[in-house]
Amino acid sequence: MARKLLLEHINVPGINTFDVYRQKGGYRSVEKALKTMTPEEVVEEVKTSGLRGRGGAGFPTGMKWSFLAKPEGVPRYLVCNADESEPGTFKDRYLMTYIPHALIEGMIVSSFALGAKTSYIYVRGEMMPQIRILERAIAEAKNAGYLGKNILGTGYDLELYVQPGGGAYICGEETALLESLEGKRGNPRIKPPFPAIAGLYGCPTVVNNVESIAAVVPIINDGGAEYAKIGIGRSTGTKLISASGNLVKPGVYEIDLGLPVEEFIYSDEYCGGIANGKRLKATVAGGSSVPVLPANLTLKLANGEPRLMSYESLSEGGFITGTMMGSGGFIVYDEDQCMVKNTWNFARFYHHESCGQCSPCREGTGWLEKILHRLEHGHGKMSDIDLLVDVVKKIDGNTICPFGDAAGWPVAAAIRHFRDEFEWHVREPLKSQETNYGLAKYAEPIAKAEVTTDN
């Protein structure tokens, strides 16, 4: 049984209340940090831990913190990104629902480290129940003297507020989130300046994912060096994985980074294998934005070694034979799933969610959806497949924020690995409406790495 740093007490009755959370050792990190450490020492511990942003980009959290500008007389802000909207990802909802105080505790320690006196948790508007849970947890913590003026008599003041979003995937992008928090449309800002210099209300700001902030708690309790011992290489610590799709046991799992993908999918401790006795066809390992992989490349690297659940191993092989850790949204497809239909579904999502600010993304995502719609519905042409690749190339890198890239990657990857299935939809327009292409060769061992320069 793997150790649990974030979810250790998830099944304790009443753990969502301050009293039970406190009995289980909660808020120790606040006492330790505020009473025995300087803010700089807290930042150093987080740097030592090797913690990488859990929202998707995987940027080292301690380093992000150290970039924060500290001009005299200007307030600094910590904003927690709880706008969890990446298809396949539901770990933050889980954490906030069942152990809200883990996030509150992390917010207090992190705000102290950054010198923030006011911090916000930006929660997607649809998570109204979670907003109520967090508001209650904040009131409890304030009542107990862990928030507000002069926390635990240390002279440190902090106010923490919850802000609802309005239902826009783009607000998970940190500058769009800040725009939204300022009461505007969620249009991403041009960077630089980065939020660390000019963020919320033009002041230095750090934006961190829910899970990253919650991970600060065990890092301060046990020390960054202890945290760094868990995991493999530069993928330190534990990670929450949201497992969904055709699995026996979908759900949220805390894993030690470095766990073999095969063990994660098939062992009874985790997902328990593919549902209904079916076979694995494909996975999307890190949320809808990362490249889809066929079964063979999911379980093994191109050189035949087992693939691991770590930032490095998942991206081994680049976009040719690899994928990305992303937010840890692990979607599993069985042999009955149609990759063209799924790609169209994601393209529709991105078209719907594009903020419309940059033409390549606003128009390109529409093209992708339209072309994929006709391929899926039996009206496609063979040239459509290359047209999709062409549209992806024209979006990639030509937009203000990474949304455009994220919209194109799943399409490019689906064509790269499942081109047969796309061509079959064109060749067999009627048959493809009634039946699926099936598992085909996608689970067979790979003879050797195919290297192409296309897409």
């Binding site: 990446e86 909802r93 939204s180 300022e182």
Partner: protein, 170 residues
């Protein structure tokens, strides 16, 4: 495109105005516009949707131009710019929910209620729509109902029927 519905002037209740005041205490002086999204949620929770009159009143309250409210209300998908059923069933249709049967759930709701997406039943009780990922992928298919956004998970046709019955009795 923002289409403004013809409506009568609206009044905000004292409770609602008090909530606005509480919301504005969260932000620094001069940054009251930050309260716009939560305020619009409160207005929609009380009135069911956001009419042009309601948005104008919000603008006046926050001392901003009406367009600043319209452009926000039309950007975010949770705000209704047209009247809806009393209960709006919002079914997730994205990726993971799609592969575990979201389409069938939407078909079932459509035939059971007898109205198409975004239409209101004759009794004014229900409308429904497909929405994008609700971050509950492990429990799909899922749907939510505002204004408290209660969640209904691992849906089947039978569960939808029971839910509709319960809502009718309320």
């Amino acid at each position: 495109m923002l289409k403004v519905e013809e409506t009568q002037p609206v009044e905000f209740s004292a409770t609602l105005i008090a909530k606005f005041g509480e919301i504005l205490t969260r932000f620094p002086e001069g940054k009251e516009k930050s309260g716009l999204l939560p305020i619009l949620h409160e207005v929609q929770a009380e009135q069911g949707w956001l009419s042009a009159h309601a948005m104008d009143k919000v603008a006046a309250y926050l001392k901003i131009e009406p367009i600043e409210v319209y452009e926000v209300a039309s950007f975010y998908t949770m705000y209704f710019l047209k009247p809806q059923g009393k209960y709006v069933l919002e079914v997730c249709r994205t990726g993971p929910c799609g592969i575990v049967g979201a389409d069938k759930i939407m078909d079932h709701i459509e035939s059971k209620l007898g109205v198409k997406e975004n239409e209101i039943t004759a009794d004014g009780l229900f409308s429904w729509r497909g929405v994008e990922c609700l971050a509950a992928c492990g429990y799909g298919p899922v749907l939510q109902i505002g204004p408290e956004y209660t969640f209904y998970e691992n849906l089947t046709a039978e569960k939808v029927d029971t839910l509709l019955e319960e809502l009718r009795k309320k």
